[in-house]
Amino acid sequence: MICQICKKLEATIHLTEITNGNRSEVHLCQACAVEQGIAIKNQMPLNELLGNLLAAAPADEELMSDLDSEQVCPNCGMTLEQFRKEALFGCPNDYDVFEKTMAPLIEKAQDGHCSHCGKIPSKAPADTKKQLEILSLRQKLDAAVRTEDYEKAAEIRDQINELEKNSCTQHTSQNT
Protein backbone atom coordinates (compact mmCIF):
# COMPACT_ATOMS: atom_id res chain seq x y z
CA MET A 1 0.00 0.00 0.00
CA ILE A 2 1.22 3.49 -0.92
CA CYS A 3 1.36 6.40 1.54
CA GLN A 4 -1.71 8.61 1.27
CA ILE A 5 0.28 11.84 1.51
CA CYS A 6 3.40 11.50 -0.62
CA LYS A 7 1.87 8.77 -2.77
CA LYS A 8 5.37 7.43 -3.35
CA LEU A 9 6.62 5.40 -0.45
CA GLU A 10 5.19 2.25 1.04
CA ALA A 11 2.79 3.00 3.91
CA THR A 12 4.11 1.41 7.06
CA ILE A 13 1.99 3.25 9.62
CA HIS A 14 -1.69 2.39 9.66
CA LEU A 15 -4.01 4.28 11.95
CA THR A 16 -7.55 3.19 12.59
CA GLU A 17 -9.68 5.65 14.44
CA ILE A 18 -13.18 4.89 15.67
CA THR A 19 -15.19 7.94 16.64
CA ASN A 20 -18.86 7.49 17.56
CA GLY A 21 -18.89 4.20 15.72
CA ASN A 22 -17.43 5.67 12.52
CA ARG A 23 -14.22 4.08 11.44
CA SER A 24 -11.59 6.00 9.53
CA GLU A 25 -8.23 4.74 8.37
CA VAL A 26 -5.01 6.55 7.54
CA HIS A 27 -2.05 4.89 5.88
CA LEU A 28 1.26 6.74 5.89
CA CYS A 29 4.92 6.17 5.30
CA GLN A 30 7.31 6.71 8.20
CA ALA A 31 8.55 10.11 6.94
CA CYS A 32 5.07 11.56 6.35
CA ALA A 33 3.88 10.26 9.71
CA VAL A 34 6.72 12.06 11.45
CA GLU A 35 5.95 15.22 9.46
CA GLN A 36 2.32 15.01 10.54
CA GLY A 37 3.46 14.75 14.13
CA ILE A 38 2.06 11.24 14.45
CA ALA A 39 4.11 9.15 16.77
CA ILE A 40 3.39 5.52 17.35
CA LYS A 41 1.57 5.26 20.64
CA ASN A 42 3.93 4.91 23.52
CA GLN A 43 4.19 1.34 24.74
CA MET A 44 1.41 -0.13 22.67
CA PRO A 45 1.07 -3.68 23.85
CA LEU A 46 2.08 -6.10 21.14
CA ASN A 47 -1.28 -7.81 20.89
CA GLU A 48 -2.88 -4.43 20.35
CA LEU A 49 -0.36 -3.76 17.62
CA LEU A 50 -1.15 -7.10 16.06
CA GLY A 51 -4.86 -6.34 16.21
CA ASN A 52 -4.26 -2.98 14.54
CA LEU A 53 -2.19 -4.55 11.81
CA LEU A 54 -4.94 -7.02 11.14
CA ALA A 55 -7.61 -4.34 11.23
CA ALA A 56 -5.62 -2.45 8.62
CA ALA A 57 -5.24 -5.52 6.45
CA PRO A 58 -8.77 -5.80 4.96
CA ALA A 59 -8.43 -2.39 3.27
CA ASP A 60 -5.71 -3.96 1.21
CA GLU A 61 -7.49 -6.85 -0.41
CA GLU A 62 -4.38 -7.99 -2.24
CA LEU A 63 -2.54 -8.55 0.97
CA MET A 64 -5.27 -10.73 2.31
CA SER A 65 -5.31 -14.05 0.62
CA ASP A 66 -8.82 -15.05 -0.46
CA LEU A 67 -8.11 -18.50 0.70
CA ASP A 68 -7.24 -17.45 4.24
CA SER A 69 -10.11 -15.02 4.69
CA GLU A 70 -12.65 -17.78 4.08
CA GLN A 71 -10.67 -20.43 5.84
CA VAL A 72 -12.12 -22.02 8.93
CA CYS A 73 -9.97 -24.14 11.20
CA PRO A 74 -11.45 -27.65 11.12
CA ASN A 75 -10.12 -28.24 14.60
CA CYS A 76 -11.55 -25.26 16.52
CA GLY A 77 -13.77 -23.33 14.10
CA MET A 78 -11.59 -20.23 14.24
CA THR A 79 -11.81 -17.71 11.41
CA LEU A 80 -9.62 -14.70 10.70
CA GLU A 81 -12.58 -12.44 11.45
CA GLN A 82 -12.79 -13.98 14.90
CA PHE A 83 -9.07 -13.64 15.45
CA ARG A 84 -9.32 -9.98 14.52
CA LYS A 85 -11.76 -9.49 17.41
CA GLU A 86 -10.02 -11.53 20.05
CA ALA A 87 -6.36 -11.42 18.99
CA LEU A 88 -6.12 -14.99 20.28
CA PHE A 89 -5.90 -18.25 18.37
CA GLY A 90 -8.30 -21.09 19.07
CA CYS A 91 -5.90 -24.01 18.82
CA PRO A 92 -2.30 -24.86 17.86
CA ASN A 93 -3.50 -25.85 14.38
CA ASP A 94 -4.43 -22.22 13.62
CA TYR A 95 -0.77 -21.41 13.11
CA ASP A 96 -0.85 -23.70 10.06
CA VAL A 97 -4.36 -22.85 8.86
CA PHE A 98 -3.78 -19.09 8.79
CA GLU A 99 -0.07 -19.24 8.05
CA LYS A 100 -0.33 -17.22 4.84
CA THR A 101 -1.97 -14.18 6.43
CA MET A 102 -0.40 -14.47 9.84
CA ALA A 103 3.24 -15.13 8.94
CA PRO A 104 3.97 -11.54 7.80
CA LEU A 105 2.04 -10.13 10.77
CA ILE A 106 3.85 -12.32 13.27
CA GLU A 107 7.13 -11.32 11.64
CA LYS A 108 6.20 -7.66 12.00
CA ALA A 109 5.10 -8.04 15.63
CA GLN A 110 8.22 -10.07 16.46
CA ASP A 111 10.67 -7.49 15.15
CA GLY A 112 11.39 -9.27 11.89
CA HIS A 113 11.90 -12.71 13.38
CA CYS A 114 9.99 -15.49 11.69
CA SER A 115 11.22 -18.73 13.19
CA HIS A 116 11.95 -20.21 16.58
CA CYS A 117 15.37 -20.18 18.16
CA GLY A 118 15.78 -21.63 21.64
CA LYS A 119 14.54 -24.47 23.77
CA ILE A 120 13.12 -27.57 22.10
CA PRO A 121 11.10 -30.07 24.13
CA SER A 122 13.21 -33.13 24.82
CA LYS A 123 10.35 -35.25 23.59
CA ALA A 124 10.28 -33.56 20.18
CA PRO A 125 11.07 -36.18 17.59
CA ALA A 126 14.76 -36.34 16.73
CA ASP A 127 14.22 -35.27 13.16
CA THR A 128 12.24 -32.21 14.31
CA LYS A 129 15.10 -31.28 16.55
CA LYS A 130 17.58 -31.69 13.75
CA GLN A 131 15.36 -29.75 11.43
CA LEU A 132 15.31 -26.87 13.85
CA GLU A 133 19.01 -27.03 14.40
CA ILE A 134 19.58 -26.84 10.67
CA LEU A 135 17.06 -24.01 10.41
CA SER A 136 18.82 -22.05 13.10
CA LEU A 137 22.23 -22.73 11.56
CA ARG A 138 20.91 -21.45 8.24
CA GLN A 139 19.83 -18.25 9.94
CA LYS A 140 23.29 -17.85 11.41
CA LEU A 141 24.81 -18.59 8.01
CA ASP A 142 22.75 -15.79 6.46
CA ALA A 143 23.89 -13.41 9.17
CA ALA A 144 27.52 -14.39 8.69
CA VAL A 145 27.26 -13.85 4.93
CA ARG A 146 25.59 -10.48 5.52
CA THR A 147 28.43 -9.32 7.74
CA GLU A 148 30.94 -10.83 5.28
CA ASP A 149 32.34 -13.11 7.94
CA TYR A 150 33.18 -15.82 5.40
CA GLU A 151 35.35 -17.84 7.71
CA LYS A 152 32.45 -18.26 10.12
CA ALA A 153 30.09 -18.89 7.21
CA ALA A 154 32.25 -21.75 5.96
CA GLU A 155 32.30 -23.19 9.46
CA ILE A 156 28.50 -23.06 9.72
CA ARG A 157 28.13 -24.51 6.23
CA ASP A 158 30.25 -27.49 7.32
CA GLN A 159 28.07 -27.99 10.38
CA ILE A 160 24.93 -27.96 8.24
CA ASN A 161 26.44 -30.46 5.81
CA GLU A 162 27.42 -32.70 8.68
CA LEU A 163 23.92 -32.60 10.16
CA GLU A 164 22.27 -33.22 6.81
CA LYS A 165 24.63 -36.10 6.09
CA ASN A 166 23.84 -37.65 9.49
CA SER A 167 20.14 -37.29 9.00
CA CYS A 168 20.44 -39.01 5.59
CA THR A 169 22.36 -41.90 7.14
CA GLN A 170 19.71 -42.16 9.81
CA HIS A 171 16.92 -42.25 7.26
CA THR A 172 18.74 -44.86 5.21
CA SER A 173 19.35 -47.05 8.20
CA GLN A 174 15.72 -46.67 9.21
CA ASN A 175 14.66 -47.74 5.74
CA THR A 176 16.79 -50.83 5.68
Binding site: N42, Q43, P45, L46, N47, L50, N75, C76, G77, M78, E86, A87, L88, F89, G90, C91, P92, Y95, D96, M102, L105, I106, A109, Q110, D111, G112, H113, C114, S115, H116, C117, G118, K119, I120, P121, S122, K123, A124, T128, Q131, L132, L135, Q139
Partner: protein, 374 residues
Amino acid sequence: MKLTDISSDINEWFSGKGPLSDIVISSRIRLARNLAGHKFLVRCSACEKEEILNKLKDILISIELPDKTFYFSVDKAPILDRSFLVERHLISRNHAFGKGPRGAVIAERESFTAMLNEEDHLRLQVLRGGLQLDECFKHINLIDDMIEHKVDYAFSPKYGYLTACPTNVGTGIRISVMLHLPALKIINQIDKFVNAARDMGLAVRGLFGEGTEATGDFYQLSNQITLGISEAQIVSKFEQQIIPEIVEFENAARKKLLLTQSSLLDDKIARAMALLKNAHLISSQEALLLLSHLRLGINMHEKMGASTPGINSIYTMTSGRSASADTVSIQTINRLFMLTLPAHLQLNHGKPLDPADRDALRAKIIRSALNQDS
Protein backbone atom coordinates in the same frame (compact mmCIF):
# COMPACT_ATOMS: atom_id res chain seq x y z
CA MET B 1 -1.56 -23.14 53.93
CA LYS B 2 -3.79 -20.13 54.57
CA LEU B 3 -3.18 -16.75 52.96
CA THR B 4 -3.17 -15.12 56.39
CA ASP B 5 -0.06 -17.20 57.14
CA ILE B 6 1.87 -15.09 54.68
CA SER B 7 -0.06 -11.82 54.59
CA SER B 8 1.48 -10.30 57.71
CA ASP B 9 4.99 -10.38 56.32
CA ILE B 10 6.75 -9.48 53.09
CA ASN B 11 7.95 -12.15 50.71
CA GLU B 12 11.55 -13.12 50.31
CA TRP B 13 12.10 -11.36 47.00
CA PHE B 14 10.98 -8.05 48.50
CA SER B 15 13.16 -8.29 51.56
CA GLY B 16 15.86 -6.07 50.09
CA LYS B 17 18.41 -8.79 49.45
CA GLY B 18 19.99 -9.85 46.17
CA PRO B 19 22.34 -8.15 43.72
CA LEU B 20 21.67 -4.44 43.09
CA SER B 21 18.55 -4.65 45.23
CA ASP B 22 18.66 -0.93 46.07
CA ILE B 23 17.44 -0.31 42.51
CA VAL B 24 16.42 -3.70 41.16
CA ILE B 25 13.52 -4.87 43.33
CA SER B 26 12.94 -8.20 41.64
CA SER B 27 13.65 -10.44 38.68
CA ARG B 28 10.83 -12.48 37.23
CA ILE B 29 10.64 -14.97 34.39
CA ARG B 30 7.44 -16.43 33.01
CA LEU B 31 7.05 -19.22 30.47
CA ALA B 32 3.85 -19.73 28.48
CA ARG B 33 2.98 -23.33 27.61
CA ASN B 34 0.01 -25.18 26.15
CA LEU B 35 -0.83 -28.85 26.04
CA ALA B 36 -0.70 -30.56 22.67
CA GLY B 37 -4.00 -32.07 21.60
CA HIS B 38 -6.15 -29.46 23.33
CA LYS B 39 -7.70 -26.28 22.01
CA PHE B 40 -6.51 -22.97 23.40
CA LEU B 41 -8.68 -21.63 26.20
CA VAL B 42 -10.84 -19.18 24.19
CA ARG B 43 -12.23 -22.13 22.26
CA CYS B 44 -12.45 -24.61 25.14
CA SER B 45 -15.72 -25.66 26.73
CA ALA B 46 -15.93 -25.41 30.52
CA CYS B 47 -15.56 -29.17 30.53
CA GLU B 48 -12.31 -29.15 28.56
CA LYS B 49 -10.98 -26.33 30.73
CA GLU B 50 -11.71 -28.43 33.80
CA GLU B 51 -9.92 -31.38 32.23
CA ILE B 52 -6.82 -29.28 31.46
CA LEU B 53 -6.89 -27.76 34.94
CA ASN B 54 -7.02 -31.14 36.64
CA LYS B 55 -4.36 -32.64 34.43
CA LEU B 56 -1.92 -29.81 35.09
CA LYS B 57 -2.77 -29.60 38.76
CA ASP B 58 -2.00 -33.31 39.23
CA ILE B 59 1.31 -33.00 37.41
CA LEU B 60 2.42 -29.93 39.30
CA ILE B 61 1.57 -31.44 42.63
CA SER B 62 3.35 -34.69 41.75
CA ILE B 63 6.70 -33.21 40.71
CA GLU B 64 9.33 -32.67 43.35
CA LEU B 65 10.07 -29.01 43.77
CA PRO B 66 12.59 -27.49 46.19
CA ASP B 67 9.75 -25.79 48.11
CA LYS B 68 6.46 -27.23 49.28
CA THR B 69 3.56 -26.07 47.14
CA PHE B 70 -0.12 -25.49 47.73
CA TYR B 71 -3.00 -25.32 45.31
CA PHE B 72 -5.26 -22.31 45.15
CA SER B 73 -8.58 -22.53 43.35
CA VAL B 74 -8.69 -19.04 41.80
CA ASP B 75 -12.23 -19.10 40.38
CA LYS B 76 -13.73 -20.22 43.67
CA ALA B 77 -11.83 -17.79 45.92
CA PRO B 78 -13.26 -14.54 47.32
CA ILE B 79 -12.25 -11.36 45.48
CA LEU B 80 -10.18 -10.18 48.44
CA ASP B 81 -8.01 -13.31 48.37
CA ARG B 82 -7.50 -12.97 44.64
CA SER B 83 -6.55 -9.30 44.98
CA PHE B 84 -4.09 -10.28 47.68
CA LEU B 85 -2.34 -12.70 45.32
CA VAL B 86 -2.11 -9.95 42.70
CA GLU B 87 -0.59 -7.53 45.21
CA ARG B 88 1.83 -10.26 46.14
CA HIS B 89 2.75 -10.68 42.44
CA LEU B 90 1.86 -14.36 42.67
CA ILE B 91 -0.78 -14.29 39.95
CA SER B 92 -1.61 -11.80 37.21
CA ARG B 93 -4.56 -9.45 37.32
CA ASN B 94 -6.02 -11.25 34.29
CA HIS B 95 -5.83 -14.54 36.09
CA ALA B 96 -7.40 -13.17 39.26
CA PHE B 97 -10.38 -11.60 37.51
CA GLY B 98 -10.71 -13.85 34.45
CA LYS B 99 -13.41 -16.40 33.69
CA GLY B 100 -13.83 -20.14 33.92
CA PRO B 101 -12.15 -22.90 35.91
CA ARG B 102 -8.64 -21.81 36.82
CA GLY B 103 -6.11 -22.23 39.57
CA ALA B 104 -2.63 -21.56 40.82
CA VAL B 105 0.06 -23.74 42.35
CA ILE B 106 2.14 -21.59 44.67
CA ALA B 107 5.43 -22.51 46.33
CA GLU B 108 5.71 -21.79 50.03
CA ARG B 109 8.43 -19.16 49.91
CA GLU B 110 6.63 -17.57 46.96
CA SER B 111 9.52 -17.92 44.55
CA PHE B 112 7.48 -20.06 42.15
CA THR B 113 3.91 -19.99 40.86
CA ALA B 114 2.15 -21.90 38.12
CA MET B 115 -0.99 -20.25 36.78
CA LEU B 116 -3.34 -22.82 35.30
CA ASN B 117 -5.76 -21.70 32.61
CA GLU B 118 -4.66 -18.10 32.44
CA GLU B 119 -4.42 -16.97 28.79
CA ASP B 120 -2.47 -20.14 28.05
CA HIS B 121 -3.01 -23.51 29.69
CA LEU B 122 0.09 -23.05 31.78
CA ARG B 123 2.09 -20.03 32.79
CA LEU B 124 5.06 -20.77 34.99
CA GLN B 125 6.64 -17.98 37.00
CA VAL B 126 9.81 -17.68 39.05
CA LEU B 127 10.55 -14.58 41.11
CA ARG B 128 13.67 -13.55 43.00
CA GLY B 129 14.95 -10.46 44.76
CA GLY B 130 17.47 -8.17 43.04
CA LEU B 131 19.01 -8.91 39.67
CA GLN B 132 19.01 -12.71 39.46
CA LEU B 133 17.67 -13.54 36.02
CA ASP B 134 20.19 -16.29 35.43
CA GLU B 135 19.10 -18.10 38.60
CA CYS B 136 15.46 -17.50 37.72
CA PHE B 137 15.96 -19.07 34.34
CA LYS B 138 17.81 -22.11 35.71
CA HIS B 139 15.01 -22.64 38.22
CA ILE B 140 12.12 -22.25 35.79
CA ASN B 141 13.82 -24.27 33.07
CA LEU B 142 14.26 -27.16 35.47
CA ILE B 143 10.59 -27.09 36.44
CA ASP B 144 9.63 -26.84 32.78
CA ASP B 145 11.76 -29.93 32.03
CA MET B 146 10.08 -31.87 34.83
CA ILE B 147 6.62 -31.02 33.52
CA GLU B 148 7.65 -31.75 29.97
CA HIS B 149 8.47 -35.32 30.92
CA LYS B 150 4.85 -35.84 31.82
CA VAL B 151 3.00 -34.00 29.06
CA ASP B 152 3.33 -33.08 25.41
CA TYR B 153 3.50 -29.36 24.86
CA ALA B 154 2.08 -27.76 21.72
CA PHE B 155 5.23 -27.10 19.70
CA SER B 156 6.07 -26.46 16.08
CA PRO B 157 9.51 -26.59 14.48
CA LYS B 158 8.94 -23.24 12.85
CA TYR B 159 7.18 -21.27 15.59
CA GLY B 160 8.44 -23.03 18.72
CA TYR B 161 6.10 -23.24 21.72
CA LEU B 162 2.64 -22.40 20.42
CA THR B 163 0.67 -19.88 22.44
CA ALA B 164 -2.86 -18.52 22.26
CA CYS B 165 -1.56 -15.07 21.38
CA PRO B 166 1.06 -15.00 18.62
CA THR B 167 2.93 -12.29 20.51
CA ASN B 168 4.15 -14.96 22.96
CA VAL B 169 4.97 -17.63 20.42
CA GLY B 170 8.49 -19.05 20.20
CA THR B 171 10.20 -19.33 23.54
CA GLY B 172 7.07 -18.14 25.36
CA ILE B 173 9.42 -16.32 27.71
CA ARG B 174 8.54 -13.07 29.41
CA ILE B 175 11.29 -11.50 31.46
CA SER B 176 10.21 -8.79 33.81
CA VAL B 177 12.48 -6.74 36.03
CA MET B 178 11.02 -4.40 38.62
CA LEU B 179 13.05 -1.26 39.10
CA HIS B 180 12.86 1.53 41.64
CA LEU B 181 13.83 4.76 39.86
CA PRO B 182 12.91 7.68 42.13
CA ALA B 183 15.93 9.88 41.31
CA LEU B 184 15.31 9.73 37.57
CA LYS B 185 11.74 10.76 38.29
CA ILE B 186 12.73 13.67 40.53
CA ILE B 187 15.20 15.09 38.01
CA ASN B 188 12.66 14.64 35.17
CA GLN B 189 14.69 12.08 33.24
CA ILE B 190 12.24 9.23 33.43
CA ASP B 191 11.00 9.90 29.89
CA LYS B 192 14.51 9.24 28.63
CA PHE B 193 14.43 5.85 30.29
CA VAL B 194 10.99 5.07 28.86
CA ASN B 195 12.05 6.14 25.36
CA ALA B 196 15.30 4.19 25.51
CA ALA B 197 13.40 1.10 26.63
CA ARG B 198 10.92 1.55 23.80
CA ASP B 199 13.74 1.90 21.28
CA MET B 200 15.09 -1.43 22.49
CA GLY B 201 11.68 -3.01 21.90
CA LEU B 202 10.93 -3.36 25.62
CA ALA B 203 7.68 -2.69 27.45
CA VAL B 204 7.53 -0.44 30.49
CA ARG B 205 4.69 -1.00 32.93
CA GLY B 206 3.71 -0.04 36.44
CA LEU B 207 3.90 -1.90 39.71
CA PHE B 208 1.21 -4.43 38.88
CA GLY B 209 1.89 -5.06 35.22
CA GLU B 210 -0.24 -4.51 32.19
CA GLY B 211 -2.43 -1.43 32.26
CA THR B 212 -1.13 -0.10 35.57
CA GLU B 213 0.64 3.17 36.11
CA ALA B 214 4.05 3.55 37.61
CA THR B 215 3.22 4.17 41.24
CA GLY B 216 5.83 4.72 43.88
CA ASP B 217 8.43 5.14 41.12
CA PHE B 218 8.37 1.40 40.44
CA TYR B 219 8.74 0.37 36.83
CA GLN B 220 8.49 -3.08 35.33
CA LEU B 221 10.63 -3.61 32.29
CA SER B 222 9.94 -6.58 30.05
CA ASN B 223 10.80 -8.09 26.70
CA GLN B 224 8.23 -8.14 23.93
CA ILE B 225 9.99 -10.31 21.39
CA THR B 226 9.67 -14.05 21.95
CA LEU B 227 10.44 -15.41 18.50
CA GLY B 228 13.88 -15.86 16.99
CA ILE B 229 15.85 -15.03 20.14
CA SER B 230 16.84 -17.87 22.45
CA GLU B 231 16.10 -17.82 26.19
CA ALA B 232 19.82 -17.63 26.98
CA GLN B 233 20.31 -14.69 24.65
CA ILE B 234 17.48 -12.64 26.08
CA VAL B 235 18.35 -13.44 29.70
CA SER B 236 21.96 -12.45 29.18
CA LYS B 237 20.99 -9.29 27.31
CA PHE B 238 18.86 -8.19 30.27
CA GLU B 239 21.31 -9.27 32.93
CA GLN B 240 24.57 -8.14 31.33
CA GLN B 241 23.51 -5.11 29.36
CA ILE B 242 20.07 -3.57 29.72
CA ILE B 243 19.59 -3.61 33.49
CA PRO B 244 23.16 -2.61 34.47
CA GLU B 245 22.83 0.37 32.12
CA ILE B 246 19.61 1.52 33.74
CA VAL B 247 21.06 1.01 37.21
CA GLU B 248 23.98 3.19 36.21
CA PHE B 249 21.57 5.80 34.86
CA GLU B 250 19.64 5.89 38.16
CA ASN B 251 22.87 6.00 40.18
CA ALA B 252 24.07 8.93 38.09
CA ALA B 253 20.76 10.68 38.77
CA ARG B 254 21.21 10.08 42.51
CA LYS B 255 24.70 11.57 42.41
CA LYS B 256 23.43 14.54 40.43
CA LEU B 257 20.67 15.12 42.97
CA LEU B 258 23.16 15.04 45.78
CA LEU B 259 25.67 17.35 44.13
CA THR B 260 23.50 19.89 42.37
CA GLN B 261 19.98 19.67 43.75
CA SER B 262 20.40 18.60 47.31
CA SER B 263 17.74 20.96 48.63
CA LEU B 264 15.22 19.41 46.24
CA LEU B 265 16.25 15.97 47.49
CA ASP B 266 16.06 17.09 51.11
CA ASP B 267 12.66 18.63 50.56
CA LYS B 268 11.23 15.43 49.04
CA ILE B 269 12.59 13.23 51.82
CA ALA B 270 11.78 15.50 54.75
CA ARG B 271 8.26 16.13 53.47
CA ALA B 272 7.70 12.42 52.98
CA MET B 273 8.91 11.73 56.51
CA ALA B 274 6.79 14.47 58.04
CA LEU B 275 3.63 13.40 56.23
CA LEU B 276 4.05 9.71 56.85
CA LYS B 277 4.76 10.28 60.53
CA ASN B 278 1.78 12.54 61.08
CA ALA B 279 -0.96 11.81 58.55
CA HIS B 280 -4.20 10.28 59.78
CA LEU B 281 -5.61 9.44 56.38
CA ILE B 282 -3.43 8.29 53.54
CA SER B 283 -4.33 6.75 50.21
CA SER B 284 -2.44 3.85 48.73
CA GLN B 285 -1.10 6.04 45.92
CA GLU B 286 0.18 8.72 48.28
CA ALA B 287 1.75 6.16 50.60
CA LEU B 288 3.62 4.54 47.69
CA LEU B 289 4.97 7.88 46.51
CA LEU B 290 6.10 9.06 49.94
CA LEU B 291 7.58 5.69 50.92
CA SER B 292 9.45 5.77 47.62
CA HIS B 293 11.20 8.98 48.68
CA LEU B 294 12.13 7.49 52.04
CA ARG B 295 13.47 4.41 50.30
CA LEU B 296 15.61 6.67 48.13
CA GLY B 297 16.98 8.50 51.16
CA ILE B 298 17.87 5.32 53.02
CA ASN B 299 19.52 3.75 50.00
CA MET B 300 21.53 6.88 49.30
CA HIS B 301 22.72 6.85 52.86
CA GLU B 302 23.52 3.14 52.95
CA LYS B 303 25.03 2.74 49.48
CA MET B 304 26.60 6.12 48.85
CA GLY B 305 27.23 7.33 52.40
CA ALA B 306 25.13 10.39 51.65
CA SER B 307 24.36 12.47 54.70
CA THR B 308 22.27 15.57 54.12
CA PRO B 309 19.75 17.27 56.42
CA GLY B 310 16.88 15.57 54.60
CA ILE B 311 18.40 12.11 54.72
CA ASN B 312 19.39 12.59 58.35
CA SER B 313 15.81 13.49 59.16
CA ILE B 314 14.79 9.91 58.44
CA TYR B 315 17.04 8.71 61.20
CA THR B 316 17.17 11.51 63.74
CA MET B 317 13.46 12.14 63.77
CA THR B 318 12.68 8.55 64.50
CA SER B 319 15.40 7.71 66.92
CA GLY B 320 16.85 10.90 68.29
CA ARG B 321 20.17 9.42 67.30
CA SER B 322 22.56 10.26 64.48
CA ALA B 323 22.22 9.17 60.88
CA SER B 324 24.31 6.10 61.53
CA ALA B 325 21.66 4.64 63.81
CA ASP B 326 19.88 2.13 61.67
CA THR B 327 16.37 2.43 63.01
CA VAL B 328 14.42 2.87 59.81
CA SER B 329 15.77 0.16 57.61
CA ILE B 330 15.04 -0.74 54.02
CA GLN B 331 13.19 -3.74 55.41
CA THR B 332 10.85 -1.45 57.37
CA ILE B 333 10.09 0.56 54.25
CA ASN B 334 9.66 -2.51 52.04
CA ARG B 335 7.30 -3.97 54.63
CA LEU B 336 5.25 -0.79 54.64
CA PHE B 337 5.09 -0.76 50.85
CA MET B 338 3.53 -4.18 50.79
CA LEU B 339 1.52 -4.39 53.99
CA THR B 340 -0.33 -1.14 53.32
CA LEU B 341 -1.67 -2.26 49.93
CA PRO B 342 -5.50 -2.51 50.01
CA ALA B 343 -5.92 -6.30 50.03
CA HIS B 344 -3.06 -6.81 52.50
CA LEU B 345 -4.62 -4.28 54.86
CA GLN B 346 -8.01 -5.94 54.76
CA LEU B 347 -6.79 -9.49 54.97
CA ASN B 348 -4.65 -8.65 57.99
CA HIS B 349 -7.51 -6.71 59.52
CA GLY B 350 -9.70 -9.76 59.21
CA LYS B 351 -12.56 -8.19 57.28
CA PRO B 352 -13.27 -5.93 54.29
CA LEU B 353 -12.95 -2.19 54.86
CA ASP B 354 -14.29 0.73 52.84
CA PRO B 355 -11.70 3.06 51.27
CA ALA B 356 -11.90 5.74 54.01
CA ASP B 357 -11.33 3.16 56.74
CA ARG B 358 -8.47 1.69 54.77
CA ASP B 359 -6.84 5.12 54.50
CA ALA B 360 -7.11 5.56 58.27
CA LEU B 361 -5.73 2.11 59.02
CA ARG B 362 -2.89 2.58 56.52
CA ALA B 363 -1.91 5.88 58.12
CA LYS B 364 -2.00 4.30 61.58
CA ILE B 365 0.26 1.39 60.57
CA ILE B 366 2.77 3.75 58.96
CA ARG B 367 2.74 6.16 61.91
CA SER B 368 3.32 3.41 64.36
CA ALA B 369 6.20 1.89 62.34
CA LEU B 370 7.99 5.20 61.88
CA ASN B 371 7.41 6.58 65.37
CA GLN B 372 8.45 3.41 67.11
CA ASP B 373 11.70 4.62 68.62
CA SER B 374 11.06 8.32 68.99
